[in-house]
Symmetry: C2
Subunit: 222 residues, 2 copies
């Protein structure tokens, strides 16, 4: 199994619920975490709050460029609106690094959630196009932010589909999922099949509304 202890994971958009939740769980698993935000002050405030609330060490906050620079592996957890612009600005800092895109391009109207069309096919493929020298993967789309930050939930009952064309990179991202108790990383196909994984979040939100749940996905027979 791939060893991820000793890695530093950067979380771009780490002050949002999804990024903060994953940062918290990784830090509790003993992985070094850097929260990134547009403002270094807000990033450090979020990191300080996590250190205090959750009693974890090893989380600090920097601006997004500093976060990308400092990290070995970078999770992109920013809103879809602004996704491309941010990645373009961080191209140099992300050269050679594993980038994990967990962004779900979704719209909402009176009928609920729906998948937005993306010129490049998916958020992950947009990242791949903007970061030709990075090792882009897609994962962590379906993990409930509510469950992540709720430490009374000891085990996250969910699999994480990990997509990408670089075997070593997807293995490392799978190991980062495995590091969180209850979670399991499952290879989920090539990056060109990322659209439906991102878009499925619309279905999970519809499920959450119908069943008053925080739904996740498990893959059976694996």
């Amino acid at each position: 199994m791939t060893d991820v202890t000793g890695l530093t994971v950067g979380v771009l958009g780490g002050t949002g619920p999804q990024g903060k939740g994953l940062a918290l769980r990784w830090a509790r698993a003993g992985i070094g975490v850097v929260i990134g935000s547009r403002s270094a002050e807000r990033a450090e405030a979020a990191a300080a709050a996590l250190r205090e609330d959750a009693g974890v060490e090893g989380i600090r906050g920097l601006d997004n460029a500093g976060c990308a620079e400092a990290a070995d592996v970078v999770l992109v957890a920013v809103p879809w609106d602004g996704h491309g612009e941010l990645l373009e600005a961080l191209r140099d800092q992300l050269v050679g690094k594993i980038v994990i895109d967990c962004v779900n391009p979704l719209g909402f109207d009176k009928q609920g959630p729906f998948a937005l069309p993306v010129d490049e096919g998916s958020a992950a493929q947009q990242a791949e196009k903007l970061l030709p020298e990075s090792r882009v993967t897609a994962a962590f789309h379906h993990v409930s932010a509510v469950h992540l930050v709720d430490l009374s939930i000891a085990e996250m009952d969910t699999d994480v589909l990990v997509l990408g064309d670089d075997r070593e990179a997807t293995d490392q991202v799978r190991a980062l999922a495995d590091a969180i108790p209850g979670m399991r990383g499952v290879y989920g196909g090539r990056l060109r099949n990322a659209h439906q994984v991102e878009a499925l979040t619309a279905n999970l939100i519809a499920i959450n509304r119908r069943y008053k749940a925080h739904a996740g996905i498990r893959v059976t027979d694996v």
Copy 2:
């Protein structure tokens, strides 16, 4: 819970692996099944084989038009190629009926499976457009045909995402999933969110290849 005993389910394309497998499981659950095929003879031969191999009553075979006519609920399990043409031809027989589309528009190349673009958005939305007087739902995309026909597998370890805009119709289709041991029908959103559920089959095929599995999906926290 919606009662589905006494229903007759028609399976268009019922001589293919997916259709045959579901027909078998439903018949074993005591639901009346009509297998449909272009040729009534091949449909009846498939039905006879299932009656004999599986020792089930209540399966017969008809041509697709006869199948659509005879059934209360109709599963569309034909190849994507020819999907629209068939439904257009059966519009009259399908008026007022619940139609379940389980078709996955997929392509394959050297890099494996991928989702095909569909003008209407998805196979299910194409069905909705071609069958304006039917109650179109989408379900049973991810069920392993290999597991369905293997009666040594008593319980199908999978959930079935059921999509549609007609609550009573999706409830009935969920009940048809619940009727198969181990299977569970879960509401999965409106029909406009069917594309990603169909396309996710490409990811499951990639998973099957990587893990030598027949992967299915479970929804957690529901």
